[in-house]
Subunit: 143 residues, 2 copies
């Protein structure tokens, strides 16, 4: 039995929103979080606002166009909590462990996420409906 | 303009699951988290497994009966990420701030949550679909 590889923390929580300004009145003004930065990813059709919260970050993900990466989720489920990102020191090993236990991973291998670090998603049908992202970051205590 | 009260961290993330044993094969065996404890709350019709992850905790919430507190969500949305719990040092002040900015809070005031600490939920219609729980804990760095 190989040693279990455990996530070191929740890196971020992705929230699907229809409109970034409206979402900021909730998460910044109402709930009191601070916006660290807003990034625009035209190739993925996304605007993302990063609001740190302790060790992790709330990411508000809004569509920049109708065929954005978040549009299907918004159309089918409506806005709300979209995914949780678990942070590992070794995403290849974590991915093998997950696959060995029956989880399906999307894509052929890790890709670069909005955080500038390697990420990989598990298929929500293999995680009982929760969309789980795995992210690799070697700095265990880093935010 | 009063000073903003900000959450100190994400206290936990609630995941709605149909069956705790099945969910543990995903979150414990596949993703590598460790079960700290499992609590049974017969008055709320819930089984909850607590899996710490860095500063925060993944809570797997399963129904113990057909009219449990999670059953409506499971029937309408299916299993998946249910809510995010933000931790504040003063939940009354945080609640007033949220209400002043247009958020609707459920109930007349804080109640005791599964963590043994005062909690209060915001109505998801006032948070653009994300179910947000506010929890009071004075120890800023505590897990």
């Amino acid at each position: 039995m190989p040693e279990t590889i455990a996530p070191t923390q929740i890196n971020h929580l992705g929230i699907a929103v229809r409109n970034l300004e409206e979402a900021l009145t909730i998460w910044r003004d109402g709930l009191g979080l601070t916006v660290e930065r807003i990034v625009h990813l035209p190739e993925r059709g996304l605007h993302i606002a990063f609001l740190p919260c302790g060790q992790t970050t709330i990411e508000l993900v809004a569509p920049a166009r109708e065929d954005s990466e978040i549009s299907k989720f918004l159309a089918e489920r409506g806005p709300g909590i979209h995914h949780v990102c678990l942070q590992y020191t070794d995403i290849a090993q974590a991915g093998r462990q997950a696959q060995d236990r029956g989880l399906r991973l999307l894509g052929e291998g890790p890709q670069l996420g909005a955080e500038g670090l390697p990420v990989r998603f598990a298929h929500p049908k293999s995680t009982a409906g929760a969309l789980v992202e795995m992210l690799e970051k070697v700095d265990v205590q880093g935010v």
